[in-house]
Amino acid sequence: MSGCGFFSRGAAVVATAATAVRASRVPRVFTVTHRPLHTSLQSRSFAKELFLGNIEQKGVFPFPEISQDELSEINQFVGPVERFFNDEVDSRKIDQEGKIPVDTLEKLKSLGLFGIQVPEEYGGLGLSNTMYARLGEIFSMDGSITVTLAAHQAIGLKGIILVGNEEQKAKYLPKLASGEHIAAFCLTEPASGSDAASIQTRATLSEDKKHFVLNGSKVWITNGGLASIFTVFAKTEVVDSDGSVKDKITAFIVERDFGGITNGKPEEKLGIRGSNTCEVHFENTRVPVENVLGEVGGGFKVAMNILNSGRFSMGSVVAGMLKKLIELTAEYACTRKQFNRNLSEFGLIQEKFALMAQKAYVMESMTYLTAGMLDQPGFPDCSIEAAMVKVFSSEAAWQCVSEALQILGGSGYMKDYPYERFLRDSRILLIFEGTNEILRLFIALTGLQHAGRILTSRIKELKRGNVSTVMETIGQKLRDSLGRTVDLGLSGNPAVVHPSLGDSANKLEENVYYFGRTVETLLLRFGKTIVEEQLVLKRVANILINLYGMTAVLSRASRSIRTGLPNHDHEVLLANMFCVEAYFQNLFSLTQLDKYAPENLDEQIKKVSQQILEKRAYICAHPLDRTS
């Protein structure tokens, strides 16, 4: 099986080698023993290095840990919160009434859950990303509360923490942290989803230059009806350095008391029905100039930073939900009898549990790895990693909840049980905080940009081409095609990855190496226009997500074995299982990325959709149609 996959890969490499000769270039591609090209500490993000075919071990191996003190601290929090969610939150009622009861909200506030990441000096809990992720596992028992809390602190007040000045922090954060004020993030407009240029809301400077007058409408604002503090993005006129006047986006902190703010009625939604989502209208709202968040005209970067920073926590939320779901369905499967056997004895049911456990394990590993990276000093850039966690966990959530429903059969479909609510609630995960499609493009393009910068110089040299580089390239391609063993330092002596995961580590290394080569080829083939090749970018992102997942589980399982955590043999099983699956998925995707790969149906896909969209209908004749 593996040999088979390997050969097809090898053959494809030969094919590209031939074309490579024609174009006469190619530098020495990264030697395995030493890693050149480290520009700065800041840009040495793990995911970006993967694009160059390297595994950056710092921060990833060993798996990040928290100290014993921190652990006991977080456990102190977790206990009461968990008890509260188990005993007092009636998710079914919240879902039916479309509203979180006031006393529930009050209790959440008293637990301090509205200021988890607000620094302690402003009255928050000041927890790290890792601890935030840990708490997220517990919120996940109720989707509406999760979303309400996330909209409040992951995006709503995040701007103040990230770019607010001292006065703004001192003025707003204490009340936000206590939950006295709830925050909302107002970016989306009827005409503007991810397109910042089409934002219509406008802020004009008043004549006394002390206020901005805000006008416009925002839609689908979570907490829009509850919030007292809004982070609003609006267009302002900014004089450029060359004297021209341009429209640029500026972020504002807007209090409801500024006046002129009205809400639409709460939207009826498929899931997370307890959360408050509505339109927010601003009409001549006067915002003092002190309330500009960041710089005037610098709102775009603020929005991007907020969005990029809020994503990783979805992984732990989904993992928490899956763990609970596994408990519920396992209970059912072990008690429900058919043909005198428990459901748990049937292979097709067992398979579903393995899938759920595997997905939960992978996303947990990815989340805490990312959180650990984020908690490292010096604001490391982990936006790609966070986006990967979001994409993986949201898709796994949808898949696993659906499988769980399948285990339950008809009961899963009934409103008497909570499962259909889980299904409805989890559907939004694929959509908000950047749809998965958009995030895939983000993952692929950000990485390609990084790889492109570094490869540009090399490729230029290679396009000029001299005999020695060409010969070197041919030699390397030949060696690749003969199936060299790749060693990126995971299984050296002493091995970074535990030997019981050695095979999987080798698979990861092989995937990473060929991924790096493929990225180089892609950049060479498409250049700048790769931005338009969305189907290619999707595969690049999928491979990267798998690679990141593989790394995370290998790192975590290795740590578990070495520190002797309970059931680490189970972890090894899950890790190896995922790595093998991901390995073959990656091989397939890499093959598809080759030129003229028969597995690649992109041309046909484009043609089919083009024909359909031209007619805006399904155009096949009915199977019962006749011509005579």
Binding site: A196, I249, G527, S628
Partner: protein
């Protein structure tokens, strides 16, 4: 193998023989020998189908003495002048009653075929089956190998083929009843049967071959027809059809509308392109161009501009702060390399942009100015752009000979225009 060749040869020869027979029967007796030689040497291919299969109706202007066609009287309009399916069926039935021995049935079928469009039954399968039913059964079936090799009763077989040909021309698919009749009349190994099988094979394949199907019955109202034609030409489904002016026929003639209809179509993309158009460059109203829809020809006009010069084409820049989620462009210094260029080296002739199309009841400038004025309401920039009318006098295209409808085509040739033949420009700056 050799037997097959022999039989094929025999069939070819028999075709020739068919030619001889048909010419012998219809042509002048003095030329029989000459035509026979031609028929033998060239086989049937030289005969143009219509000449060979459907004898031309006697044309009155060539033959001053009108020879009354046999059985013509059966198709004379009845007292109330109605010509419909019922009266046609009556005529066919009365032929059966009239001549029990079916004498002259071939002539009658040819006549009936010619008469079918007049009665409006040319697309009716049951009528064709009824016509085939006129043939006597079993008489023309070949009974031995010799008869099977040569064309047995060629004139009758040709007549049968003529029926099928007319069906084919009108897109009528034969059914099992047709097959049953043909086997009864001519047998399985006959030319009408071969024709039938070919029709069964090919008509189905050709029926939906047009990716842009035109409805079978075109609307009679010129306004509806114009809307249909504009939709037919415009690929963008978001395009909006606007009626700029309804036609008001003058009471006096009723034919020449004093206020012709004007219908235009414009897609949002075209509207955006027009808004981007450099106002110092003129736009042109050109036309009329012909468009054929089945047997109707309509004329349309376009509003277009010349292709902008390459240096004038402002390259769309991607704004810096556009996409909140992912980079819209990569900061790389190289682009797609030559070895991954999938496009062939084509000499593509790019045309200037077309901004709108219209169809009007009249093709003069006065009418088209009204169209431009109407367009200005939705395209404010058009007011600043000089509009040049380049109208051709002659459409250079045939008029429809709509003898079926028995009326003049809805869009006649352009008339009342000052320009001479050919394209002439008449700049008209700053409309409105």
């Amino acid at each position: 193998m050799s037997w097959v060749q022999a039989s094929l040869l025999a069939r070819g020869l028999s075709r020739g023989w068919g030619g001889i027979c048909s010419t012998a029967l219809s042509g002048a007796p003095a030329q029989v020998s000459l035509q026979a030689a031609r028929g033998l040497h060239r086989s049937a291919v030289i005969h143009r189908d219509d000449v060979w299969l459907v004898p031309q109706p006697p044309e009155p202007q060539r033959k001053p003495i009108k020879v009354p066609v046999l059985h013509e009287e059966l198709f004379t309009p009845s007292a109330n002048g109605e010509q419909d399916k019922a009266s046609f069926l009556r005529a066919v039935r009365s032929f059966g009653e009239h001549s029990v021995r079916k004498r002259g049935h071939v002539d009658f079928i040819y006549l009936a075929l010619r008469k079918m469009p007049e009665f409006g039954v040319e697309r009716d399968l049951s009528v064709y089956n009824l016509l085939l039913d006129v043939f006597p059964k079993e008489v023309f079936r070949p009974r031995n190998i010799i008869q099977r090799i040569f064309v047995h009763y060629p004139r009758q077989q040709e007549c049968g083929i003529a029926v099928l040909e007319q069906m084919e021309r009108h897109g009528v698919m034969p059914n099992t009843e047709t097959e049953f009749l043909l086997t009864q009349i001519f047998g399985r190994t006959s030319y009408p049967m071969l024709k039938f099988l070919r029709m069964k094979l090919w008509l189905t394949r050709f029926k939906n071959i047009n990716p842009y199907p035109v409805p079978r019955d075109l609307p009679q109202d010129p306004l509806d027809l114009a809307k249909l034609s504009l939709r037919h030409m415009e690929p963008d489904l978001s395009a909006k059809v606007t009626v700029y002016q309804m036609s008001l026929p003058s009471e006096s003639t009723g034919i020449d509308p004093i206020q012709p209809h004007i219908v235009g179509i414009q897609s949002p993309d075209q509207q955006a392109a027009l808004a981007r158009h450099n106002p110092s460059k003129p736009v042109f109203v050109e036309g009329p161009f012909p468009l054929w829809l089945r047997n109707k020809c309509v004329y349309y006009h376009i509003l277009r501009a010349d292709l902008p010069l390459p240096e004038e084409e402002n390259v769309e820049e991607i704004p810096e702060e556009w996409n909140l989620y992912y980079p819209m462009k990569l900061d790389l210094e190289y682009s797609r390399s030559g070895w991954d260029n999938y496009e062939f080296d084509l000499d593509e002739v790019t045309e200037g942009p077309v901004f709108a199309m219209c169809m009007a009841g009249a093709h003069d400038q006065a009418t088209l100015v009204k169209w431009i004025q109407g367009l200005q309401e939705t395209n404010p920039t058009l007011a600043q752009i000089p509009v040049v009318f380049r109208l051709a006098r002659s459409t250079g295209e045939l008029l429809t000979t709509s003898r079926l409808e028995g009326q003049s085509p809805p869009d006649g040739p352009p008339k009342g225009q000052e320009e001479d033949e050919g394209l002439q420009t008449q700049p008209q700056q700053g409309q409105s």
